[in-house]
Amino acid sequence: MNFDIYDFSSFTKSIDEGLMASMSPFWAITIEMIIIGVLILGFYAVVGLYLVYAERKICAFMQCRVGPNRVGPYGFFQTIADLIKLLLKELIPIKNADKILFNIAPFIVIIASFMAIAAIPFAKGLHALDFNIGVLYVMAVSSMGVIGILLAGWSSNNKYSLIGAMRSGAQIVSYELSVGLSLITIVILAGSLQFSTIVEGQRNGWFIFTGHIPAIIAFLVFLVASTAETNRGPFDLAEAESELTAGFHTEYSGIKFAFFFLAEYMNMFIVASIAATVFLGGWMPFHIGGWEAFNGIMDYIPPFIWYIGKTAFVIFLMMWFKWTFPRLRIDQLLTLEWKYLLPINLFNIILMAFIVLMGWHF
């Protein structure tokens, strides 16, 4: 077993071969799936908790406050304490709620984000599912989460929940278009829907630089649309605190509420990693075509660090949006999508296709 921090493919391959040699392929694949599931679950929990912490700290600094600073140094264990509290809390049964749907809803939300995270390339060789339709797959499973939100609102027997869920539905139906079209812009440039090929295609420069104007427009559109898709501020109409108490999760308590809360942050993480992978090169270090010495220095930083750094940058941008802009009204939300983002996006696709056709990209 040779463990290489720059290339995990031989490491994962040796585990695979070791398991295959010692048992039948069925059990080997089952055990591999369990290992990957447990690893992703652990990663999911840790990232979710620390994104909550990061969000609280960043929002505090933007509002001239200090943020959590009592539990541990700089409040570092605050979210762990919160999680323990939520685990110990009572799950309140709701009178006249649709029991089955009410209990299923948080799991659908969690499963949707859990399935999406499997297709994300974390580093070279550290990639659970590498479909040849990876981008399409992530789009499909990540938009399943809204079914959970709709079910949660519908089954709660509460008008605030229902209004929140319906708003969320309208929002996802609109903004899914922009997310998809802005990704297709880059797919035209990359010529592939497979994440590993897309990352490999950015070896001589990230797509946001090689695709210049249309790629930058697509990146900005993707940022706006994906912020809306994850139901985060300034598009958090589904849980608008000042209007709908807590929107679709008004009636949820304890760990079921924590599932929704965690899924919101993980969706943000997934969206940010897709943006980092498709536009900013994923785990690929910062390369400039032809500058061999510079590229060599950049290669010393492990790919995982590059990936985390880019994702953190996109997440920071999304948090910056949330804590700066006021919430949109529902008609403003739909106007933004159908009158501005969609026409710009369609024009942008044509522009990108033309540039690729003429070979004007780098």
């Binding site: 600094f61 933007m62 001239c64 910056w320 949006f321 700066t324 802009f325």
Partner: protein, 160 residues
């Protein structure tokens, strides 16, 4: 053509307005010196409250343990929630006159809304608002306080 220019100008205006907002929050984010919250238990040694802050009602005593209260009961009458009780006693002075003096000025901190009416209406300025605020106790009866110190007497010349 004009509508297209207007459309693009509108997008440009919108984006520049958003960037202005993000500049403000971004400035605060990279300038931790702008933080205005106070770290209370750590800074309690040098914590200075604002002048207008009203913590609790106290009675002014001078160094000879003398106060200004004539036990007239105006503060008791003016208190909107009945958090003041004046208990007076009658003493005979050396020249044989009977006189009402203060025995206990009882103040229920738990009922007080810090409206400042007792301080304002006191004809002899015997009361004032103090700035202490750490009033938490485990037993509610401890919030009932006697404002005049033990053995204190009326200052000479106040009741003339």
């Amino acid at each position: 053509m004009k509508s297209i220019i207007n459309y693009l100008a509108e997008i440009f205006r919108g984006v520049s307005a958003l960037i202005k907002g993000m500049k403000v929050t971004g400035y605060y984010f990279i300038h931790p010196g702008e933080i205005v919250t106070q770290q209370y238990p750590e800074n309690r040694k040098k914590l200075v409250m604002f002048e207008r802050f009203k913590g609790e009602v106290v009675m002014i005593h001078n160094e000879n343990n003398e106060h200004h209260c004539t036990a007239c009961g105006i503060c008791e009458m003016n208190c909107p929630n009945g958090s003041i009780e004046i208990i007076s006693k009658t003493v005979t002075s050396e020249d044989g006159k009977k006189k009402k003096v203060l025995a206990h000025h009882i103040y229920h901190l738990g009922m007080c809304t810090f409206c400042n009416l007792c301080v304002k209406t006191c004809p002899s300025n015997a009361l004032k608002m103090d700035q202490t605020f750490e009033h938490a106790v485990f037993d509610r009866t401890k919030l009932t306080k006697v404002l005049n110190r033990p053995g204190s007497v009326l200052m000479k010349g106040v009741d003339k």
